[in-house]
Symmetry: C2
Subunit: 294 residues, 2 copies
């Protein structure tokens, strides 16, 4: 059982931050949640819905005396928030985040909170981001979800243990990775496919026969392109924040495409069928495991 939290500050009260607050409340592990954000309307909605117990538009003031702070804003907004928090944090206040890239967040923590690193524990909960606002928050979002914890070199093991235990209390499965290991894995399984899907839809939309194409696209197209409906701003930030790992993935993918193009040019049906069969088999194995755990 993790140690309970008297005051939790959630900066960015949307699906991710709001659901963390609700889950900990249900588990009886938090007494009071203060919601911080830029939109007063969203904060008032969060208060009305009981997602938070108090609201503030001043991250620094809200952090005074808090036991824990969760940064659940886009990564692009974190620096400003961290700088406002820095002079107000007391030793022992846990600081964690929910950003989808980790090496850059680690650098931010190290630059903005150099005196506080023992209590900083970067993390990344894997949960859909297609809904936003306080009204999207819900109990149970993290049941059976993966949360990646990427401790700093300076993180106190006790802090890491506390943050892990709180996520576990929300129902999540905890994984520990280095920030770089995290960014490499997510460049592969999340960032690259988002960019490939954006590029694909953008290409089709630019074709002379785009109208006929869209008119006849069906369910395969629908599923393959779902992630191209994601936020352009968020994915611009991710692409830039995880640039190095993503460029490696793109290089590897282009090499794979080049090999496939050569097989098509050479009408090498055997090599193509082998490539497709390897992919189908890997996808099938993955999907069976995914169904089992979700």
């Amino acid at each position: 059982m993790p140690q309970g939290i008297k005051t939790l500050v959630v900066v960015g009260v949307g699906l991710i931050g709001g659901s963390f607050a609700l889950s900990l409340k249900r588990a009886g592990l938090v007494e009071r949640v203060v919601g911080v954000g830029r939109s007063l309307e969203n904060l008032e909605r969060a208060l009305e819905l009981g997602v938070v117990d108090a609201i503030s538009q001043d991250a620094g003031a809200a952090c005074r005396g808090a036991d824990m702070v969760l940064l659940a804003t886009p990564v692009g907004q974190m620096e400003k928030v961290l700088l406002a928090m820095a002079p107000e944090l007391s030793p022992g206040t846990l600081v964690t985040d929910a950003g989808s890239t980790k090496s850059d967040v680690v650098r931010l923590f190290e630059r903005c909170l150099p005196q506080h690193l023992a209590w900083c524990v970067p993390a990344h909960p894997i949960a859909g981001a297609e809904l936003s606002g306080a009204a999207a928050a819900r109990y149970g979002l993290y049941e059976n979800r993966d949360v990646i914890i990427t401790p700093l070199a300076a993180s106190d093991p006790h802090s890491v243990g506390q943050v892990s235990a709180l996520w576990r209390a929300c129902g999540a499965r905890i994984h520990h990775l280095t920030p770089q290991g995290h960014d490499e894995v997510f460049a592969s399984v999340s960032h690259l496919p988002h960019l490939l899907a954006f590029a694909y839809v953008d290409m089709v939309a630019g074709k002379d026969n785009a109208a006929s194409c869209f008119d006849l696209a069906a369910t395969g197209f629908r599923d393959f392109t779902r992630i191209a409906g994601s936020s352009p701003e968020m994915w611009r930030d991710v692409a830039l924040a995880n640039r190095e790992a993503l460029l490696n993935e793109l290089t590897a993918y282009r090499a794979e495409l080049d090999a496939m193009v050569q097989e098509i040019e050479a009408a090498d049906g055997t090599a193509l069928a082998e490539r497709f069969a390897r992919a189908r088999s890997a996808r099938h194995q993955w999907y069976q495991a995914f169904l089992k755990k979700s």
Copy 2:
């Protein structure tokens, strides 16, 4: 109301062929369906389920005296079937198919049935192929689905009208395209994404950290890669049959990727966000229209 069919021969009694037979039976537009195939077990199952009224393993013999023949086999098996049918067809017997590429099927018709082209009408019903066998056949599969008709230069307009009317009676929306126009559109919206998904999964499966990648892949990965679970043999055939259009698509896609890579290398956030926003907007528009018609 289309003219009714006394004897319909369906070569390949699976999801596509079997559902066509069932739909026409329900519409009261066919008296007797003869199922033809290589697997006696599947044919007997089709008979048992009432999908067909008689079965045969000899396409030529089955076609004698038929009013209409639907080829619902993989395109790679069509030549053999057409050559067996050729000496047995009577003038006036409609011949259509359900192949997912059309220029190659047109060439096959022209080569194998040169005396019969007035009654040949190639077509492509857009309906998932992830299920197979007679047991997958069902009434209603074609309700609100698209069927592309690609007449031959020599197709009699009356034949085209009859085949179109029968598909319409199954609930389908009819589109007329040239074989080349069909193959270009489907290279874009179906063949290319299948190949991109196969290549992507094959690349991830080959990585040193593949196990971690698969362990942490979530719903975005699931949807993006669903079509990589498709039949390697079918997609090898499609890739080779529609090679020229597909190579054009791959060239265009690689150019789009190259441009995106340059933007990432240059950390050009504005250009990336614009590209992603164009894609999201096109995808959103497409999806609204898709929901409306389906």
